[in-house]
Symmetry: C2
Subunit: 246 residues, 2 copies
DNA sequence: AGGCGGCATTGATGCAAATCAAGGCGCCGT
DNA sequence: ACGGCGCCTTGATTTGCATCAATGCCGCCT
Protein backbone atom coordinates (compact mmCIF):
# COMPACT_ATOMS: atom_id res chain seq x y z
CA UNK A 1 0.00 0.00 0.00
CA UNK A 2 2.71 2.49 0.88
CA UNK A 3 6.00 2.79 -1.01
CA UNK A 4 9.36 3.24 0.58
CA UNK A 5 10.78 6.45 -0.70
CA UNK A 6 14.48 7.28 -0.99
CA UNK A 7 15.45 10.56 0.62
CA UNK A 8 16.36 13.41 -1.72
CA UNK A 9 19.11 15.80 -0.65
CA UNK A 10 17.50 19.15 0.29
CA UNK A 11 19.76 20.88 -2.23
CA UNK A 12 18.14 18.87 -5.05
CA UNK A 13 14.60 19.12 -3.75
CA UNK A 14 12.11 20.41 -6.35
CA UNK A 15 10.35 22.56 -3.74
CA UNK A 16 13.50 23.84 -2.06
CA UNK A 17 12.57 27.47 -2.72
CA UNK A 18 8.86 27.30 -1.97
CA UNK A 19 8.36 25.15 1.12
CA UNK A 20 8.83 25.88 4.85
CA UNK A 21 12.59 25.43 4.33
CA UNK A 22 12.76 28.11 1.61
CA UNK A 23 14.48 30.75 3.75
CA UNK A 24 16.90 28.39 5.50
CA UNK A 25 20.66 28.74 5.19
CA UNK A 26 23.02 25.76 4.74
CA UNK A 27 23.40 25.22 8.45
CA UNK A 28 19.66 25.15 9.12
CA UNK A 29 19.12 22.90 6.13
CA UNK A 30 21.54 20.37 7.60
CA UNK A 31 19.43 20.24 10.77
CA UNK A 32 16.25 19.69 8.76
CA UNK A 33 17.95 17.10 6.58
CA UNK A 34 18.85 14.98 9.62
CA UNK A 35 15.26 15.03 10.93
CA UNK A 36 13.24 14.45 7.77
CA UNK A 37 11.82 11.28 6.29
CA UNK A 38 9.85 10.63 3.13
CA UNK A 39 6.72 8.66 2.49
CA UNK A 40 4.65 8.08 -0.62
CA UNK A 41 0.91 7.37 -0.68
CA UNK A 42 -1.18 6.02 -3.57
CA UNK A 43 -4.24 7.66 -5.10
CA UNK A 44 -7.17 7.49 -2.71
CA UNK A 45 -5.08 7.10 0.45
CA UNK A 46 -6.34 8.94 3.52
CA UNK A 47 -3.48 10.91 5.02
CA UNK A 48 -5.58 12.10 7.97
CA UNK A 49 -9.13 12.18 9.27
CA UNK A 50 -10.93 15.07 10.98
CA UNK A 51 -10.48 14.80 14.72
CA UNK A 52 -7.91 12.02 14.54
CA UNK A 53 -4.29 12.31 15.70
CA UNK A 54 -1.72 13.61 13.24
CA UNK A 55 1.77 12.54 14.22
CA UNK A 56 3.70 14.38 11.54
CA UNK A 57 4.17 17.82 10.13
CA UNK A 58 4.53 17.19 6.40
CA UNK A 59 5.23 19.05 3.20
CA UNK A 60 3.92 17.88 -0.17
CA UNK A 61 6.91 17.15 -2.42
CA UNK A 62 4.86 15.90 -5.36
CA UNK A 63 1.28 14.96 -6.12
CA UNK A 64 -1.99 16.45 -4.92
CA UNK A 65 -4.22 16.08 -1.88
CA UNK A 66 -7.51 17.61 -0.74
CA UNK A 67 -8.42 19.01 2.65
CA UNK A 68 -12.13 18.49 3.28
CA UNK A 69 -14.90 18.20 5.79
CA UNK A 70 -18.01 16.05 5.56
CA UNK A 71 -21.30 16.88 7.30
CA UNK A 72 -23.25 14.06 8.97
CA UNK A 73 -25.68 13.79 6.10
CA UNK A 74 -22.85 13.29 3.60
CA UNK A 75 -22.51 16.77 2.14
CA UNK A 76 -18.82 17.36 1.60
CA UNK A 77 -16.82 20.55 1.10
CA UNK A 78 -13.18 20.69 0.12
CA UNK A 79 -11.60 23.60 1.98
CA UNK A 80 -8.15 23.44 0.48
CA UNK A 81 -6.24 21.94 -2.41
CA UNK A 82 -2.75 20.84 -1.38
CA UNK A 83 -0.08 20.99 -4.08
CA UNK A 84 3.73 20.69 -3.95
CA UNK A 85 5.28 22.92 -1.23
CA UNK A 86 2.01 23.14 0.76
CA UNK A 87 2.18 21.81 4.31
CA UNK A 88 -0.01 19.49 6.37
CA UNK A 89 -0.40 19.81 10.12
CA UNK A 90 0.07 22.63 12.53
CA UNK A 91 2.57 23.21 15.29
CA UNK A 92 0.91 23.02 18.70
CA UNK A 93 -1.95 20.77 17.70
CA UNK A 94 -1.93 16.98 17.75
CA UNK A 95 -5.01 16.35 15.61
CA UNK A 96 -6.19 17.19 12.12
CA UNK A 97 -9.23 19.43 11.74
CA UNK A 98 -10.01 18.01 8.30
CA UNK A 99 -9.97 14.87 6.22
CA UNK A 100 -6.91 14.78 4.01
CA UNK A 101 -6.93 12.53 0.96
CA UNK A 102 -4.43 11.86 -1.82
CA UNK A 103 -6.10 12.55 -5.17
CA UNK A 104 -2.89 11.76 -7.05
CA UNK A 105 0.08 9.76 -5.79
CA UNK A 106 1.57 11.95 -3.07
CA UNK A 107 5.11 12.07 -1.69
CA UNK A 108 5.54 13.79 1.66
CA UNK A 109 8.61 15.15 3.40
CA UNK A 110 7.80 14.52 7.04
CA UNK A 111 8.96 15.60 10.49
CA UNK A 112 7.84 14.13 13.76
CA UNK A 113 5.34 16.62 15.18
CA UNK A 114 7.19 17.27 18.44
CA UNK A 115 10.52 17.48 16.69
CA UNK A 116 9.08 20.01 14.26
CA UNK A 117 7.66 22.15 17.07
CA UNK A 118 11.17 22.30 18.46
CA UNK A 119 12.54 23.23 15.02
CA UNK A 120 10.03 26.10 14.80
CA UNK A 121 11.28 27.39 18.16
CA UNK A 122 14.98 27.02 17.41
CA UNK A 123 15.24 27.73 13.68
CA UNK A 124 14.17 31.34 13.08
CA UNK A 125 13.94 31.02 9.30
CA UNK A 126 11.50 28.11 9.62
CA UNK A 127 9.25 30.12 11.93
CA UNK A 128 9.18 33.20 9.70
CA UNK A 129 8.65 31.18 6.54
CA UNK A 130 5.84 29.25 8.20
CA UNK A 131 4.16 32.53 9.15
CA UNK A 132 4.46 33.86 5.60
CA UNK A 133 3.04 30.65 4.13
CA UNK A 134 0.18 30.63 6.64
CA UNK A 135 -0.69 34.24 5.82
CA UNK A 136 -0.69 33.31 2.12
CA UNK A 137 -2.97 30.34 2.82
CA UNK A 138 -5.28 32.61 4.80
CA UNK A 139 -5.52 35.00 1.87
CA UNK A 140 -6.23 32.08 -0.47
CA UNK A 141 -8.95 30.74 1.84
CA UNK A 142 -10.56 34.17 2.04
CA UNK A 143 -10.37 34.64 -1.72
CA UNK A 144 -12.07 31.28 -2.09
CA UNK A 145 -14.94 32.49 0.10
CA UNK A 146 -15.79 35.00 -2.65
CA UNK A 147 -15.93 32.14 -5.15
CA UNK A 148 -18.14 29.98 -2.95
CA UNK A 149 -20.42 32.75 -1.74
CA UNK A 150 -20.99 34.90 -4.77
CA UNK A 151 -20.02 33.27 -8.05
CA UNK A 152 -22.25 31.43 -10.51
CA UNK A 153 -21.49 27.81 -11.43
CA UNK A 154 -19.90 28.91 -14.71
CA UNK A 155 -17.68 31.48 -12.98
CA UNK A 156 -16.68 28.91 -10.36
CA UNK A 157 -15.48 26.44 -13.01
CA UNK A 158 -13.64 29.16 -14.93
CA UNK A 159 -12.02 30.43 -11.72
CA UNK A 160 -10.96 26.93 -10.75
CA UNK A 161 -9.29 26.30 -14.13
CA UNK A 162 -7.61 29.70 -14.10
CA UNK A 163 -6.21 29.25 -10.59
CA UNK A 164 -5.01 25.74 -11.39
CA UNK A 165 -3.22 27.04 -14.50
CA UNK A 166 -1.61 29.81 -12.43
CA UNK A 167 -0.36 27.38 -9.80
CA UNK A 168 1.00 25.05 -12.48
CA UNK A 169 2.82 27.99 -14.01
CA UNK A 170 4.33 29.03 -10.67
CA UNK A 171 5.57 25.50 -10.02
CA UNK A 172 7.09 25.47 -13.50
CA UNK A 173 8.71 28.84 -12.82
CA UNK A 174 6.64 30.64 -15.44
CA UNK A 175 3.81 33.13 -15.12
CA UNK A 176 0.49 32.54 -16.77
CA UNK A 177 -1.52 35.54 -17.81
CA UNK A 178 -2.04 35.05 -21.52
CA UNK A 179 -1.59 32.62 -24.40
CA UNK A 180 -2.54 28.96 -24.48
CA UNK A 181 -2.07 26.27 -21.82
CA UNK A 182 -2.79 22.60 -21.40
CA UNK A 183 -3.60 21.34 -17.92
CA UNK A 184 -3.95 17.95 -16.35
CA UNK A 185 -6.81 17.94 -13.84
CA UNK A 186 -5.66 16.22 -10.65
CA UNK A 187 -9.29 16.03 -9.46
CA UNK A 188 -12.26 13.93 -10.53
CA UNK A 189 -15.54 15.69 -11.38
CA UNK A 190 -16.79 14.79 -7.93
CA UNK A 191 -13.73 16.31 -6.23
CA UNK A 192 -14.04 19.45 -8.35
CA UNK A 193 -17.72 19.69 -7.38
CA UNK A 194 -16.80 19.36 -3.68
CA UNK A 195 -14.19 22.07 -4.06
CA UNK A 196 -16.60 24.48 -5.74
CA UNK A 197 -19.73 23.79 -3.70
CA UNK A 198 -21.56 22.29 -6.71
CA UNK A 199 -22.89 18.88 -7.73
CA UNK A 200 -21.13 16.53 -10.16
CA UNK A 201 -23.84 17.12 -12.75
CA UNK A 202 -23.59 20.91 -12.66
CA UNK A 203 -19.81 20.66 -12.83
CA UNK A 204 -19.98 18.44 -15.89
CA UNK A 205 -22.60 20.63 -17.59
CA UNK A 206 -20.61 23.81 -17.06
CA UNK A 207 -17.43 22.23 -18.43
CA UNK A 208 -19.44 21.17 -21.47
CA UNK A 209 -20.84 24.69 -21.80
CA UNK A 210 -17.36 26.29 -21.67
CA UNK A 211 -16.24 23.81 -24.35
CA UNK A 212 -19.26 24.62 -26.57
CA UNK A 213 -18.44 28.31 -26.16
CA UNK A 214 -14.86 27.68 -27.35
CA UNK A 215 -13.23 28.80 -24.10
CA UNK A 216 -11.68 25.39 -23.46
CA UNK A 217 -11.02 22.04 -25.18
CA UNK A 218 -11.22 18.70 -23.40
CA UNK A 219 -9.03 16.21 -25.25
CA UNK A 220 -9.79 13.79 -22.42
CA UNK A 221 -11.93 14.08 -19.28
CA UNK A 222 -8.86 14.87 -17.20
CA UNK A 223 -7.13 17.17 -19.69
CA UNK A 224 -8.14 20.75 -20.39
CA UNK A 225 -6.64 22.90 -23.11
CA UNK A 226 -7.14 26.64 -22.77
CA UNK A 227 -6.63 28.33 -26.16
CA UNK A 228 -6.77 31.86 -24.75
CA UNK A 229 -5.99 32.22 -21.08
CA UNK A 230 -6.99 35.89 -20.82
CA UNK A 231 -10.44 35.08 -22.25
CA UNK A 232 -11.08 32.40 -19.65
CA UNK A 233 -9.82 34.73 -16.90
CA UNK A 234 -12.43 37.24 -18.06
CA UNK A 235 -15.10 34.56 -17.78
CA UNK A 236 -13.87 33.94 -14.24
CA UNK A 237 -15.04 37.44 -13.38
CA UNK A 238 -11.70 39.19 -13.37
CA UNK A 239 -11.25 42.62 -14.81
CA UNK A 240 -8.65 42.96 -17.58
CA UNK A 241 -5.82 43.47 -15.12
CA UNK A 242 -6.38 40.15 -13.40
CA UNK A 243 -7.12 41.95 -10.16
CA UNK A 244 -8.30 38.84 -8.33
CA UNK A 245 -5.44 36.53 -7.49
CA UNK A 246 -6.60 33.14 -6.26
CA UNK B 1 -14.92 62.23 12.22
CA UNK B 2 -12.23 60.47 14.19
CA UNK B 3 -11.98 60.63 17.96
CA UNK B 4 -8.78 61.09 19.87
CA UNK B 5 -8.41 58.10 22.12
CA UNK B 6 -6.49 58.04 25.38
CA UNK B 7 -3.98 55.20 25.66
CA UNK B 8 -4.85 52.39 28.02
CA UNK B 9 -2.01 50.73 29.95
CA UNK B 10 -1.42 47.25 28.47
CA UNK B 11 -1.93 45.77 31.93
CA UNK B 12 -5.53 47.06 31.94
CA UNK B 13 -6.28 46.23 28.33
CA UNK B 14 -9.47 44.19 27.86
CA UNK B 15 -7.80 42.02 25.20
CA UNK B 16 -4.48 41.61 27.01
CA UNK B 17 -4.77 37.82 27.01
CA UNK B 18 -6.17 37.28 23.51
CA UNK B 19 -4.33 39.63 21.14
CA UNK B 20 -0.87 39.44 19.53
CA UNK B 21 0.58 40.59 22.84
CA UNK B 22 -0.99 37.71 24.82
CA UNK B 23 2.24 35.74 25.32
CA UNK B 24 4.47 38.73 26.06
CA UNK B 25 6.26 39.12 29.38
CA UNK B 26 6.52 42.45 31.25
CA UNK B 27 9.67 43.47 29.43
CA UNK B 28 8.24 42.84 25.97
CA UNK B 29 5.02 44.59 26.96
CA UNK B 30 6.98 47.71 27.84
CA UNK B 31 8.44 47.77 24.33
CA UNK B 32 4.99 47.42 22.76
CA UNK B 33 3.59 50.05 25.11
CA UNK B 34 6.10 52.62 23.90
CA UNK B 35 5.28 51.99 20.23
CA UNK B 36 1.50 51.77 20.26
CA UNK B 37 -1.12 54.42 19.57
CA UNK B 38 -4.91 54.28 19.66
CA UNK B 39 -7.49 55.46 17.22
CA UNK B 40 -11.28 55.26 17.20
CA UNK B 41 -13.45 55.18 14.10
CA UNK B 42 -17.21 55.76 13.82
CA UNK B 43 -19.76 53.35 12.36
CA UNK B 44 -19.39 53.18 8.59
CA UNK B 45 -15.76 54.34 8.49
CA UNK B 46 -13.52 52.63 5.95
CA UNK B 47 -10.37 51.46 7.66
CA UNK B 48 -8.83 50.20 4.43
CA UNK B 49 -9.62 49.54 0.78
CA UNK B 50 -8.60 46.56 -1.32
CA UNK B 51 -5.31 47.32 -3.08
CA UNK B 52 -4.67 50.54 -1.17
CA UNK B 53 -1.72 51.14 1.17
CA UNK B 54 -2.12 50.13 4.81
CA UNK B 55 0.31 51.99 7.02
CA UNK B 56 -0.48 50.29 10.32
CA UNK B 57 -0.68 46.89 11.85
CA UNK B 58 -3.69 47.16 14.16
CA UNK B 59 -5.57 45.14 16.72
CA UNK B 60 -9.27 45.64 17.40
CA UNK B 61 -9.66 46.73 21.04
CA UNK B 62 -13.43 47.18 20.87
CA UNK B 63 -16.15 47.28 18.25
CA UNK B 64 -16.60 45.29 15.07
CA UNK B 65 -15.37 45.52 11.48
CA UNK B 66 -15.87 43.49 8.31
CA UNK B 67 -13.27 42.31 5.83
CA UNK B 68 -14.84 42.12 2.37
CA UNK B 69 -14.31 42.11 -1.35
CA UNK B 70 -16.60 43.55 -4.00
CA UNK B 71 -16.76 42.26 -7.60
CA UNK B 72 -17.00 44.78 -10.44
CA UNK B 73 -20.73 44.21 -10.85
CA UNK B 74 -21.38 45.01 -7.19
CA UNK B 75 -21.65 41.53 -5.70
CA UNK B 76 -20.01 41.65 -2.29
CA UNK B 77 -18.70 38.92 -0.05
CA UNK B 78 -17.52 39.44 3.51
CA UNK B 79 -14.56 37.12 4.10
CA UNK B 80 -14.00 37.82 7.77
CA UNK B 81 -15.66 39.36 10.77
CA UNK B 82 -13.19 41.26 12.93
CA UNK B 83 -13.95 41.36 16.65
CA UNK B 84 -11.88 42.46 19.68
CA UNK B 85 -8.37 40.90 19.66
CA UNK B 86 -8.40 40.24 15.90
CA UNK B 87 -5.69 41.96 13.92
CA UNK B 88 -5.65 43.99 10.70
CA UNK B 89 -2.71 44.03 8.33
CA UNK B 90 0.11 41.64 7.68
CA UNK B 91 3.83 41.90 8.24
CA UNK B 92 5.71 42.12 4.97
CA UNK B 93 2.90 43.61 2.93
CA UNK B 94 2.16 47.30 2.50
CA UNK B 95 -1.35 47.05 1.09
CA UNK B 96 -4.68 45.61 2.16
CA UNK B 97 -6.15 42.77 0.11
CA UNK B 98 -9.68 43.59 1.25
CA UNK B 99 -12.02 46.41 2.09
CA UNK B 100 -12.23 46.89 5.84
CA UNK B 101 -15.21 48.75 7.27
CA UNK B 102 -16.29 49.59 10.82
CA UNK B 103 -19.81 48.21 11.40
CA UNK B 104 -19.80 49.41 14.99
CA UNK B 105 -17.60 52.13 16.52
CA UNK B 106 -14.11 50.60 16.45
CA UNK B 107 -11.09 51.36 18.60
CA UNK B 108 -7.75 50.14 17.26
CA UNK B 109 -4.41 49.65 18.97
CA UNK B 110 -1.96 50.51 16.20
CA UNK B 111 1.71 50.09 15.36
CA UNK B 112 3.50 51.64 12.44
CA UNK B 113 3.85 48.89 9.87
CA UNK B 114 7.65 48.99 9.64
CA UNK B 115 8.01 49.27 13.38
CA UNK B 116 5.77 46.24 13.84
CA UNK B 117 7.77 44.19 11.34
CA UNK B 118 10.81 44.93 13.45
CA UNK B 119 8.90 43.90 16.61
CA UNK B 120 8.00 40.58 14.99
CA UNK B 121 11.69 39.96 14.26
CA UNK B 122 12.95 40.99 17.69
CA UNK B 123 10.17 39.94 20.07
CA UNK B 124 9.86 36.15 19.92
CA UNK B 125 6.56 35.99 21.80
CA UNK B 126 4.94 38.35 19.30
CA UNK B 127 6.06 36.18 16.38
CA UNK B 128 4.81 32.92 17.90
CA UNK B 129 1.52 34.43 19.01
CA UNK B 130 1.00 35.92 15.56
CA UNK B 131 1.56 32.49 14.02
CA UNK B 132 -0.93 30.86 16.39
CA UNK B 133 -3.55 33.53 15.69
CA UNK B 134 -3.02 33.24 11.94
CA UNK B 135 -3.40 29.45 12.07
CA UNK B 136 -6.64 29.95 14.04
CA UNK B 137 -7.87 32.45 11.45
CA UNK B 138 -7.01 29.99 8.69
CA UNK B 139 -9.06 27.29 10.41
CA UNK B 140 -11.95 29.72 10.82
CA UNK B 141 -11.78 30.72 7.14
CA UNK B 142 -11.77 27.07 6.08
CA UNK B 143 -14.66 26.25 8.39
CA UNK B 144 -16.54 29.12 6.84
CA UNK B 145 -16.05 27.59 3.38
CA UNK B 146 -18.23 24.67 4.51
CA UNK B 147 -20.95 27.15 5.49
CA UNK B 148 -20.76 29.04 2.19
CA UNK B 149 -20.43 26.01 -0.04
CA UNK B 150 -22.77 23.47 1.45
CA UNK B 151 -25.28 24.88 3.89
CA UNK B 152 -28.87 25.94 3.24
CA UNK B 153 -29.97 29.51 3.98
CA UNK B 154 -31.59 28.40 7.25
CA UNK B 155 -28.44 26.56 8.38
CA UNK B 156 -26.30 29.55 7.43
CA UNK B 157 -28.34 31.90 9.63
CA UNK B 158 -28.38 29.43 12.53
CA UNK B 159 -24.61 28.88 12.20
CA UNK B 160 -23.98 32.62 12.14
CA UNK B 161 -25.98 33.21 15.33
CA UNK B 162 -24.35 30.24 17.06
CA UNK B 163 -20.82 31.35 16.19
CA UNK B 164 -21.57 34.93 17.24
CA UNK B 165 -22.90 33.69 20.60
CA UNK B 166 -19.77 31.56 21.07
CA UNK B 167 -17.45 34.47 20.34
CA UNK B 168 -19.41 36.72 22.69
CA UNK B 169 -19.07 34.06 25.37
CA UNK B 170 -15.31 33.74 24.84
CA UNK B 171 -14.85 37.51 25.11
CA UNK B 172 -16.90 37.46 28.31
CA UNK B 173 -14.77 34.61 29.63
CA UNK B 174 -17.66 32.13 29.62
CA UNK B 175 -18.41 29.18 27.39
CA UNK B 176 -21.64 28.88 25.51
CA UNK B 177 -22.94 25.42 24.77
CA UNK B 178 -26.37 25.36 26.38
CA UNK B 179 -29.00 27.49 28.13
CA UNK B 180 -30.32 30.86 26.97
CA UNK B 181 -28.45 33.86 25.58
CA UNK B 182 -29.24 37.33 24.34
CA UNK B 183 -27.08 38.78 21.58
CA UNK B 184 -26.69 42.16 20.04
CA UNK B 185 -26.15 41.87 16.28
CA UNK B 186 -23.30 44.14 15.23
CA UNK B 187 -24.27 43.70 11.58
CA UNK B 188 -27.18 45.01 9.50
CA UNK B 189 -29.23 42.53 7.49
CA UNK B 190 -27.26 43.52 4.42
CA UNK B 191 -23.92 42.86 6.14
CA UNK B 192 -25.17 39.50 7.43
CA UNK B 193 -26.29 38.61 3.89
CA UNK B 194 -22.84 39.55 2.53
CA UNK B 195 -21.20 37.41 5.18
CA UNK B 196 -23.37 34.38 4.41
CA UNK B 197 -23.51 34.64 0.63
CA UNK B 198 -27.25 35.39 0.64
CA UNK B 199 -29.52 38.32 -0.27
CA UNK B 200 -31.03 40.69 2.29
CA UNK B 201 -34.50 39.26 1.59
CA UNK B 202 -33.51 35.65 2.17
CA UNK B 203 -31.67 36.65 5.35
CA UNK B 204 -34.74 38.45 6.67
CA UNK B 205 -37.08 35.60 5.74
CA UNK B 206 -34.92 32.95 7.42
CA UNK B 207 -34.67 35.00 10.62
CA UNK B 208 -38.46 35.29 10.56
CA UNK B 209 -38.75 31.52 10.00
CA UNK B 210 -36.46 30.71 12.95
CA UNK B 211 -38.58 33.04 15.09
CA UNK B 212 -41.84 31.41 13.99
CA UNK B 213 -40.32 28.03 14.83
CA UNK B 214 -39.51 29.25 18.35
CA UNK B 215 -35.74 28.85 17.98
CA UNK B 216 -35.09 32.56 18.51
CA UNK B 217 -36.84 35.74 19.64
CA UNK B 218 -36.19 39.14 18.11
CA UNK B 219 -37.06 41.80 20.70
CA UNK B 220 -35.64 44.33 18.21
CA UNK B 221 -34.17 43.95 14.74
CA UNK B 222 -30.65 44.06 16.16
CA UNK B 223 -31.29 41.90 19.24
CA UNK B 224 -31.65 38.13 19.19
CA UNK B 225 -32.64 36.06 22.18
CA UNK B 226 -31.85 32.36 21.98
CA UNK B 227 -34.02 30.44 24.49
CA UNK B 228 -32.19 27.12 23.98
CA UNK B 229 -28.69 27.35 22.59
CA UNK B 230 -28.26 23.60 22.03
CA UNK B 231 -31.43 23.51 19.93
CA UNK B 232 -30.19 26.29 17.64
CA UNK B 233 -26.79 24.58 17.38
CA UNK B 234 -28.60 21.47 16.18
CA UNK B 235 -30.36 23.57 13.54
CA UNK B 236 -26.93 24.82 12.49
CA UNK B 237 -26.13 21.29 11.41
CA UNK B 238 -24.00 20.25 14.36
CA UNK B 239 -24.29 16.85 15.92
CA UNK B 240 -25.09 16.77 19.65
CA UNK B 241 -21.44 17.09 20.63
CA UNK B 242 -20.99 20.39 18.85
CA UNK B 243 -18.39 18.79 16.60
CA UNK B 244 -18.16 21.76 14.27
CA UNK B 245 -16.43 24.70 15.90
CA UNK B 246 -16.69 27.88 13.91
C1' DA C 1 -13.79 -10.46 -27.21
C1' DG C 2 -16.87 -9.67 -23.87
C1' DG C 3 -18.63 -8.10 -19.64
C1' DC C 4 -18.17 -5.34 -15.59
C1' DG C 5 -17.42 -1.23 -12.66
C1' DG C 6 -16.27 3.42 -12.04
C1' DC C 7 -16.54 7.88 -13.91
C1' DA C 8 -18.66 11.26 -16.94
C1' DT C 9 -22.35 13.13 -19.68
C1' DT C 10 -27.03 14.31 -20.82
C1' DG C 11 -32.05 14.90 -20.14
C1' DA C 12 -36.42 15.89 -17.41
C1' DT C 13 -38.25 17.80 -13.43
C1' DG C 14 -38.46 20.16 -8.85
C1' DC C 15 -37.26 23.47 -5.56
C1' DA C 16 -34.65 26.92 -2.79
C1' DA C 17 -33.06 31.20 -3.18
C1' DA C 18 -32.74 35.35 -6.25
C1' DT C 19 -35.16 38.97 -8.19
C1' DC C 20 -38.75 42.28 -8.66
C1' DA C 21 -41.95 45.04 -6.08
C1' DA C 22 -44.52 47.01 -2.32
C1' DG C 23 -45.17 48.30 2.36
C1' DG C 24 -44.10 48.79 7.36
C1' DC C 25 -41.52 50.38 11.29
C1' DG C 26 -38.57 53.20 13.99
C1' DC C 27 -35.73 57.24 14.26
C1' DC C 28 -34.37 61.78 13.36
C1' DG C 29 -34.90 66.62 12.62
C1' DT C 30 -37.88 70.53 12.36
C1' DA D 1 -46.87 65.97 15.56
C1' DC D 2 -45.43 65.26 11.05
C1' DG D 3 -42.69 64.06 7.16
C1' DG D 4 -38.76 61.86 5.33
C1' DC D 5 -35.25 58.40 5.24
C1' DG D 6 -32.93 53.96 6.28
C1' DC D 7 -33.57 49.61 7.34
C1' DC D 8 -36.35 45.66 7.58
C1' DT D 9 -40.17 42.64 6.29
C1' DT D 10 -43.38 40.46 3.28
C1' DG D 11 -45.43 38.94 -1.16
C1' DA D 12 -45.29 37.37 -6.21
C1' DT D 13 -42.57 35.58 -9.69
C1' DT D 14 -38.42 33.80 -11.97
C1' DT D 15 -34.38 31.14 -12.36
C1' DG D 16 -30.17 28.58 -11.59
C1' DC D 17 -28.83 24.72 -9.61
C1' DA D 18 -30.10 20.29 -7.37
C1' DT D 19 -32.26 16.10 -7.84
C1' DC D 20 -33.83 12.08 -10.13
C1' DA D 21 -32.94 9.02 -13.86
C1' DA D 22 -30.75 7.06 -17.84
C1' DT D 23 -27.15 6.36 -20.98
C1' DG D 24 -22.34 6.61 -22.68
C1' DC D 25 -17.40 5.88 -22.37
C1' DC D 26 -13.16 3.73 -21.10
C1' DG D 27 -10.00 0.75 -18.75
C1' DC D 28 -9.50 -3.65 -16.59
C1' DC D 29 -10.09 -8.41 -15.67
C1' DT D 30 -11.02 -13.02 -17.13
Amino acid sequence: MVKLTPIIACGNCPIRHNAVCADCDAEELAILESAKSYKTFPVGARLAEAGEPLEYFSTIVSGCATLSRTLEDGRRQTVGLLLPSDYIGRPGRATSGYDIEAVAEVTLCRFDRRKFEELVRTTPHVATRLLTMTLDELDAARDWAVVLGRMTAREKIATFLVSLARRDAVTGGRSQEEGEVTLHLPLSREAIADHLGLTIETTSRQITALRKDGLIDTPSARTVHIPDFALLALEAGEDDDGGLII
